[in-house]
Point group: C2
């Protein structure tokens, strides 16, 4: 597709290009446009039919948007801005440099500008910052027929018309009516007779994680956002909730790999930006590993007496680290999906203990057999290594499951208590067990 | 809430309980019911108003559903089944033991039973297995008014009415019309004049990952599922797509922690089931760690000559493992979000190389300073450790970024090439570098 567009563009076959693009989906066009040489972008963008153009614009990454805005005449800019929903305009503005923002706001309708500025006030990652103000509101004494008239008159500019919000004169949210309810009701029925008063809503200041959870739990298409006085100020639609869900998952995965989370895609980050997200954790974990140095230093005598012991250090710390990583990943995910709650702590620990015991014994036996059959070490060394394995695996799995639950309890993100962090603790304890066991069994 | 329900139940205050439950959301009721003592479940379920009861049933976990089905009379069972959408019925049946399935199918309407059996034929995780057959279909020569009549007549049983599908006499999918289009068009317009023929659809056999990606990319509310001849066989709604998205994320996180993925929530798995998902990877990685034993064994002479070197092994392998884990997690996530493509490979490697260089140098300098200032080791040992750090970090980050891209290219899931796997490779190479560098610098 990309090659075709580029070829038609090079050959200046603009009518063919226009015909081809008109048949395509806006998300696909946006993806192609982003990959075009930047100097071609304004030209090809102007080939698009007007309505499609605005839709393509919304679907593009912010750097392509910025490039276009700089190339736009005032008129073109105004046309695009008129087509944007307020939440999309806010998303865009948040990514732009100040001069571009100023120009955007200058050419926005004053009413809309006010809303944009209001939404920009909400804290990042709050429900307020995600919402749009384009929803259909109804009054309780309207009839179903009145409601349809209102939807037909105002619906074209609304982000969703399928969920309508019933408010009183103070904008307090009274109920919710779906278009399905409206279509399946008598035309003369009053809205208050059919509205659902059992409302799931979210406060403007609530975290976006709560927003995503509510969409999932209640299978919503849109979620009303209310202020402290329960006045309706906006709605969040499911497409935005899905993006939040993906962002939250990315954040968890990054934290679990000891990276400070970021919203920016990998390829858009500079080397230095990426470095800053990674180095603090690496330094912290490196310095924490000092414990392992001290432990080995302390048992230098034993190691000198039996140098063979050294060979198994990485295998032991590695395997036990993996065991801890499995437990912590499982528990962190369970906590984030709501499958595991704080009251399950003892159930979780007991379960991990039993899993650890069977895993540890399996690993210990296989390891013992391998050491005796293939490696030329004495039975005592094999026994020391294998026995350490069993004990350290049990420790690793219990630490790996307890720390995330505990972190959540004291208000930290459990995802931080994952593989790198757990490994650092497990390494130290594994070594302690190893040397204690070895000195006992080998009489060092 | 849970305590209140339990108290009212204990005191046999059934009318109060009914009033209270009637005001609540079905998902919340289901969550409370699942936690009740099993013997109370059928009783309290029968208190619910009939319509709410079916909705609560759909929201419950399969073990609670099974318990209820066993307690239901044939009539009760038929009533609940009548209210289920076909995709929910299929989900439920997939979790039930054979005898319960038999009883369910006996009491299902023959028409629906046929559809259920058809959907059960599709491979697990295919689009076909996710779909429902309850959609609104329209014909191209209908008017907008006809369309509304059809929606009003059949809509009550459809999972979504907001997206309607225009099919010809052979059930071929011709176009899509939204209720928004219908509401904003003249009543006398013909459907073919307003339908969107630029259709995003999915084939029955396509993987569920593709389904989730399409929902995200195109911001859909529903996705039509077609067979090889482009005949419409069903639709997938966004609530199911969101569940798929979460499942895919869980799978990735599990694979990244060296666990064989599973659909079952943690607390529902037996110790032995969990063990089976974890032990193969632990064994594989443990045996792979044999390389580290061999390397250390090979350099036993150097270690005997300078025992102090041993102390830094876990710190070096740990830190380099963390570096590799950061890169692999970033790249795996980028690949799964579509932010990184195969053609970006060289860009990625070059970027990781530069990041690795600054990270490695930072870590090396801090480590050198720490060793010289706080630990009582000679300058040569400090130099050997720190220089190893720089080189091994560069290696770790490049391996961590290349392997996931490469895995994806040859058709494997990149998530497998994550922390535990990378660490095993990085451990071995770090040791090799360490001993080579140490023997050179310390003339061992």
């Amino acid at each position: 597709m990309y090659e075709q567009v580029l070829a038609l563009l090079e050959e200046k076959k603009y009518p063919e290009l226009k015909a081809m693009l008109s048949e395509m989906n806006e998300a696909d066009i946006a993806a192609i446009f982003e990959d075009l040489p930047p100097e071609k972008l304004p030209l090809v963008y102007r080939i698009l039919p007007k309505e499609l153009a605005a839709e393509v614009f919304v679907n593009m990454e912010s750097d392509a948007q910025e490039l276009l805005i700089l190339a736009f005449s005032d008129n073109e800019l105004r046309e695009v801005l008129d087509e944007l929903y307020v939440d999309d305009a806010v998303d865009m503005i948040e990514e732009m440099p100040a001069t571009v923002v100023k120009r955007i706001l200058q050419h926005t309708d004053p009413e809309v500008r006010k809303s944009i500025n209001e939404i920009l006030q909400y804290p990042e990652d709050s429900a307020g910052s995600l919402m749009t103000i384009e929803y259909v509101d109804l009054k309780k004494y309207m009839t179903v027929d009145d409601a349809f008239t209102r939807i037909r008159r105002t619906g074209v500019d609304k982000e969703t018309i399928y969920i309508c919000y019933v408010t009183d004169e103070n904008r307090k949210l009274l109920g919710i009516v779906t278009v399905k309810d409206l279509l399946l009701s008598e035309k003369s029925k009053k809205i208050f007779e059919i509205m659902d008063t059992n409302i799931i809503s979210v406060n403007t200041l609530e975290d976006k994680e709560v927003v995503a959870d509510k969409f999932q739990k209640y299978d919503l298409l849109a979620l009303p956002v209310v202020d402290q006085e329960n006045r309706l100020v906006g709605i969040i639609t499911i497409d935005d909730a899905m993006d939040v869900l993906q962002d939250e998952n990315t954040e968890d995965i990054e934290k679990m790999a000891a990276i400070t989370p970021t919203d920016k895609p990998y390829l858009k980050m500079s080397v230095f930006e990426t470095y800053k997200k990674r180095i603090p954790w690496l330094l912290l974990l490196m310095v924490s590993a000092t414990f392992t140095e001290k432990i080995i230093g302390h048992f230098e005598g034993a190691l000198t007496a039996c140098v063979a012991l050294t060979a198994f250090i990485p295998m032991l710390t590695g395997t036990c680290g993996n065991c801890g990583a499995q437990s912590s990943a499982t528990i962190i995910r369970g906590l984030s999906l709501g499958d595991i709650e704080f009251r399950d702590t003892f159930k979780v620990i007991f379960k991990e203990f039993r899993i650890a015991l069977v895993c540890g014994i399996t690993l210990g036996i296989v390891n013992f057999a391998k050491l005796m059959l293939f490696d030329d070490v004495g039975a005592y060394v094999a026994l020391a290594v294998s026995f350490t394995m069993v004990m350290a695996v049990v420790f690793a799995k219990i630490v790996g499951s307890v720390l995330p639950v505990f972190a959540k309890k004291i208000g930290f993100d459990p995802a931080v208590m994952s593989s790198p962090f757990i490994s650092t603790i497990v390494d130290a304890v594994t070594l302690l067990i190893y040397f204690k066991v070895a000195t006992l069994i080998l009489h060092l």
